[in-house]
């Protein structure tokens, strides 16, 4: 059987199912541009004609999460926006990936204030981080290439590489020292609101 197939020459390709699926997925990433700040401008520049993200197969920006498999969080995320971000992430179909673009999305950046979330990786899983304030479009292209490499290396047909990632991957939600400092200073109990991302 195998020799007969080999006689067909270049018209037949041998591969693994995982590799074939990952190859198809990595070359047609559909980004969901969650652009909240100036990084969004660089994101637009990256997909525009000069830098041309479509050379790498991820130019189809869709503004509905149901049609996307790559979330690019570009810009700071504030407290009021985070439930929206989580809801959009939950609405995206599997398999999906996330790029955290820029200093604010990765760590809060210069906005170390009461309302700005100090890094989205505390609350949703992130695959690739891009440093910079804002990053150049080339850095976004590099991140997409790195993500493609990651998908090709770890991807499986049924997405079983995701099931092992069942612990939060970012830093802990609370910086313990920060909480101790706040409590010492204010000598009071924390009164915290409760949010549900699935509302």
């Amino acid at each position: 059987m195998a020799t007969q197939v080999r006689q067909l020459g270049d018209s037949v390709m041998w591969t693994q199912l995982d590799a074939a699926a990952s190859w198809a997925r990595k070359n047609s990433l559909w980004p969901m541009p969650f652009a909240t700040a100036c990084c969004g401008i660089e994101l637009m520049a990256a997909s525009a004609s000069r830098h041309d993200l479509s050379r790498f197969g991820s130019e189809v920006m869709r503004f509905t999460p149901r049609q996307c498999d790559l979330m690019i969080v570009a810009g700071r995320v504030v407290m009021k926006m985070l439930p929206v971000l989580q809801r959009i992430w939950l609405q995206m179909p599997e398999p999906k990936w996330c790029i955290s673009m820029g200093a604010c999305a990765c760590s809060g950046g210069v906005f170390d204030t009461y309302s700005v979330v100090q890094g989205i990786d505390r609350f949703i899983p992130v695959d690739v981080y891009i440093p910079g304030c804002p990053p150049r479009p080339e850095q976004l292209i590099r991140a997409v290439l790195d993500l493609q490499e990651k998908i090709q290396k770890t991807g499986t047909v049924w997405g079983s590489e995701f099931t092992g990632r069942d612990v939060p991957e970012g830093p802990p939600r609370f910086d313990a020292d920060e909480l101790v400092r706040i409590r010492d200073r204010d000598r009071m109990q924390l009164q915290l609101p409760v949010y549900d991302p699935r509302h």
Partner: protein, 149 residues
């Protein structure tokens, strides 16, 4: 009730009890037909300050182009001022923002709820005793792991 003037800017300081009547007569008789801004200042630990909060109304006469600043001083626990929504409709969001940031209530306002911050928020962040990094509200969200989503 005192008048003061600084570099051509007129300022009228009024007691909280008569603030609403004075603002109403400024609108009806003095022609102050536009409310430019309502904001507040927290004077906690400010040198020489006698009162905790100052609510500032910036008024404008659009015909003569005259401006007047009306300031009202407030102290805890009486953080209430009658709403000027019925006089100037512009006060709607401005008073809500003052409530959102300083916790000063405006009885008579038709929709006195938070404007900018989430409704579950319990603090008033522009008060000087509120830490700049918050009390942990920004961290208080559920974490979604990759296996869950």
């Amino acid at each position: 009730m005192t008048w003061s003037s600084f570099r051509g800017q007129e300022r009228l300081t009024v007691p909280a009890k008569s603030a609403h009547d004075i603002l109403k007569s400024l609108n009806e008789r003095a022609g102050m037909d536009m409310l430019v801004d309502v904001t507040a200042v927290d004077f906690l630990e400010y040198e020489g300050a006698k009162d905790r909060f100052e609510v500032v109304y910036c008024l404008l006469d659009t015909e003569s182009n005259e401006r007047l600043i009306v300031s009202v001083f407030l102290n805890e626990p009486d953080l209430e001022l009658p709403s000027v929504y019925e006089i100037w409709r512009a006060a709607d969001w401005l008073e809500r923002e003052v409530f959102d940031m300083f916790g000063i209530r405006f009885p008579g306002h038709p929709n006195m709820k938070r404007l900018l911050l989430p409704e579950e928020f319990v603090s008033f962040p522009l008060r000087k005793d509120y830490p700049m990094k918050g009390r942990g509200e920004r961290h208080n969200f559920p974490v979604i792991t990759r296996a869950q989503s």
